[in-house]
Subunit: 349 residues, 4 copies
């Protein structure tokens, strides 16, 4: 970067929803200069052909990855599918800083990766090098990183409320139940029957129960916080909305701990944070209150069951759960103010 004013950015896999969201948000970044957009199957088309709402904005046409002149770039956001990502990133010149939005570099443990993804990692060195990009919890390491793995949407909404409580030994690490509800954009833009309007509208269902790949990612973060292996119940549901994740988290209090203790620890953990807000007593978040923002809202409630408590967190899965956090990470990696391009009020209704 050195003395140049602007950071020259490439977005790989720009024709998906996270690509569109990066472009929406980077509009507000005075130092961001979009120089390359790739989409192999759409190469040669103007961006407006895949995203009419981004036509006429002066953004580059889509090209194939092979056509990118890497020397003209400083920074890459990678929004490719998991599996193929690791080889693409391994092939990038080392002068590039990279924020990867896939799952490929999120799991630090190679055995865990192989277990959940069914094959050994094909870029194990990079897997080790990569820093986990949950900004509020790994800020210093992100600032020094060349390759950041942007966390999954569900794991972001789970770890922000849970990690401080586990670090403070306020909840039982062996009794964490995460009931998560997500909008459909989390499934990406691939044409799948299960993402069709008629298969999603006017209904809700659980999926990936006890087998979703975000479970080991959550457990990795909670284990580090607890100082010992943690296994969780993570039960995602698909519901009829474009954006948003709500996680209702059921926890058992550690002996002697109270709901007030939980609140105090969370408020202290996030008191200076621009994007994480602990709601006042009686307040519980709604996903529509974070739509389009990089916020994570956290509410706490007592439970009718003794010695238990309820946490509720809400994020926009495409912002704090993906592209917004990626920009937040970029801001740290490049020394920009962390909130640049991310200070939005929610689009409601």
């Amino acid at each position: 970067m050195a003395a140049r004013d602007k950071v020259r950015i490439g977005i790989l896999g720009a024709s998906g929803y996270t690509g569109a969201e990066l472009l929406r948000l980077l509009r507000y970044h005075p130092q961001a200069e979009i120089r390359a957009l790739t989409a192999d199957r759409q190469a040669g088309k103007p961006l407006g052909a895949v995203f009419p709402h981004l036509a006429g904005e002066g953004l580059p046409d889509l090209v194939a990855i092979a056509e990118v002149d890497w020397s003209g770039l400083d920074f890459v956001f990678c929004g490719l599918p998991h599996g193929t990502t690791q080889e693409v990133v391994a092939g990038l010149p080392r002068h590039l800083k990279v924020c990867d939005l896939s799952a490929d570099f999120r799991l630090a443990d190679t055995a865990t990766y192989a277990e959940w993804y069914g094959h050994p990692h094909r870029a194990p060195d990079l897997q080790t090098e990569a820093v986990y990009g949950l900004t509020e919890l790994h800020r210093a390491a992100i600032g020094a990183a060349r390759l950041v793995a942007v966390p999954g949407c569900y794991p972001t909404a789970a770890q922000l409320p849970l990690v401080p409580l586990l670090r403070a030994d306020l909840i039982d690490p062996d009794d964490v139940i995460i009931d998560a509800k997500s909008g459909v954009s989390g499934a990406g833009r691939a044409a799948k029957e299960s993402s069709l309007f008629c298969e999603v509208a006017e209904g809700i269902h659980a999926y990936g129960v006890a087998g979703h790949r975000h479970a080991p990612e959550i457990e990795q973060g909670l284990s580090a916080a607890a100082g010992r292996p943690v296994v969780v119940n993570f039960t995602p549901h698909l519901m009829p909305m474009n954006r948003g994740i709500l996680e209702t988290i059921y926890v058992r209090l550690a002996p002697g701990a109270t709901l007030a203790d939980l609140r105090a620890v969370l408020e202290a953990a996030y008191s200076g944070e621009p994007f994480v807000r602990v709601l006042p007593e009686g307040g519980l978040p709604a996903t529509r209150h974070v739509r389009g923002t990089n916020l994570c809202l956290i509410g706490l409630s007592h439970d009718r069951l003794p010695h238990r408590a309820i946490l509720v967190s809400a994020i926009d899965n495409l912002v704090k759960g993906a592209s917004g956090q990626a920009i937040q990470d970029m801001n740290r990696m490049l020394g920009f103010p962390e909130t640049t391009a991310l200070e939005h009020r929610a689009l409601f209704p």
Copy 2:
């Protein structure tokens, strides 16, 4: 009833969603003859003025309750708001059999009622007389009842999977967590800001956490099943769909119990039931699979947490959660085949 072919039915509070749903379903009932429809504030209007989709069906005009000729009726469905219901039902002639869809007669214990509703019950004798109308679990009593309290929507979806497991001592009664998601029709047709399209669409939020009045109703049923007082976590969420309730229920297995045991007990409990289906291994229900039907679908899953399991139940809140179950109860009370008017395939998509 005796020798007459048809049962002459009145519906009190016919201008709400449960009223409309009764009328939709009773269309299929060969013995049902709709003789009176009340809606005090809409008295004098044709039914089509409040429900255009029911215009032209030959149904009676709306009248005030005071105008009803009770001697011309055999059976009453009461869909009035809670609180006012108890006085109205207390004033009905005793020759009428009654299915009440409000909450007024669901709680058998007067102290519990007073605690949750803020005033002593105004018809305590009827509260004692009323039979709780969860058909599959109280069939015999319903058959002999004059006054049936149709269960709440959430309690129906909670008790059907949980009661057999508690009766069989297969789960820990002190560790039941019910995460419920409901469509908006559950809030009724009253013009409230919180039910506006723009306040509900494209989002989800929890409400009534640790304080919803369906909690004591659920606990009443589970306590009876467990043979001792049970308290539960019941956490409802409002989501953008017209109909449907999905409950994801997290349970701790009793010592020695396995998921296979739970499945065996539920399959045995409901093997002959027309409206409750335990899905085969690997199957989990979606609300869209029960839309418009009187079904309750139940799925089971193992949990990554040891010694725990996950149950998922789905109903249409307006059918099995209200008007359908009311008709099912009526069928029992009057000696009709229980499935009359209720054998529908789901409207999907």
Copy 3:
């Protein structure tokens, strides 16, 4: 059929939405016996694998078309894609009566077919033999037909209000503008990006403007009614709902004609019809008032522009616009009462 009680039915292409809807409705048909369900790519699976809401209903497994024993069938509903349909139907034994839901046999004129579909028809004899199945308008011919082409959803909602008016010379055939709004199920169950939840929810857009293949089908019907060639403006829009078509039709009155004349003609045309209802003055239909029903509701309004009028029609695109009308046609073809299996009240909300 002769002396047999039940008609033995096969459904080709049963894994799409029209297939599911046929199965939902045929549940109410006392003479219908479902004997074969085909879905080439899903052959060998139980029906519940593609439609969980139809599991446990005792319906046949899915098979490939080649596996069907035609001698065991009396009647076939064909829900295959256009283009392939004509060859499949041409290969069916002649003892079968057929209701085809594709577009392949709707256009009687071979040149028009070739112009709009880009190739000559591959079964021109059948194209000539086929009877257009808009029941109210072609009842006699349908009763005598072996092969019926079930009309498109848009053309059904357009022709029902317009044909009687053109027959009576009450409107100008050269100034008909049809602004149509459809739910997403009209696009079928194919996994296409344009049908994804996130591409449809929270928005509306026009598509196929001045080029939709339902235009020539509408024009065919209107031309016959007017007694001379008619061209129309037909502008469809895709909107975020599962089911329903609303058509707002702008017409110019013939010299001397009044709105009252239009009303009188439509009321007379449909006075005895079970499924077409002309709303009283001031009434305009909503798609939610026909959800799940075989109804077509028609409303009329004066226009602020002189010598003009507005017609609004509403149908459920999967029922009167597809599977319901197919059953209505079958009832005529086989001599059953026309309303059998089709007398439903709308599912609202």
Copy 4:
């Protein structure tokens, strides 16, 4: 304003959707300082009590109008109901510049106002003083105005495509048909049955046909453009989305005019405009492409009917149709760059 850096702003009626949208957008305005927010029925509450998504943003508490210290304000946005607005605005000190979002000052003709609103205007002087705030069409007058009437959402989407064509005599003023589709936020935040989720979701219907109060507003603008009285067909529909208006406009070409002429005139009219975009040939807008933006997209299509054409316009009813245009007007009234706070990319999906 003079030498002060910031404009001190009050928002009257801040608890509605247009109020929330003003606050969302003014977040991006470097010269805007929110000093007073009124909501008579919510006076005394923090803003977060009515808009949780705006809690924690440092915005003022809600007060009653009577409590406002007008001397501390420079500019007022008025988002009160029509009817009451005229008296409130009449009572404001004259040093305040005012953008009114109600309908009270949109109709310049007092007789027309009285006819459509059922009573004489109560501030006829202000009605005369007010400038109609469709920025692109009345820029100079807005710049000099003290009181601006922000246009209605429907009239904005209608006039932007139609006015240049009428000014250029390219279309027949006596044959304009506007089929409009709106999201529910256009109905405001009042708790009305017709705005309930269950009354709107999964359906569409026309309303206010031939009687909507936006018709005379549209006609006022088109009459001025045509140089003679114009009457239009304006047919609005309510559909299940939060935001967005799509208008499909059917026009008859003037003798000799072609679609290319229409395109040329519209492109010329809006070539330098930041917020109005004429899509290239073949392009038609979707409401989701303008969500959250101040854009109006316009597409043109030929019509199968000879000598006719189709125009399609899309806006976000809360932005270009209300609060965004109000800020655009404020920018002109106060000499700020017109695009300040309004340069957003659409939130998609």
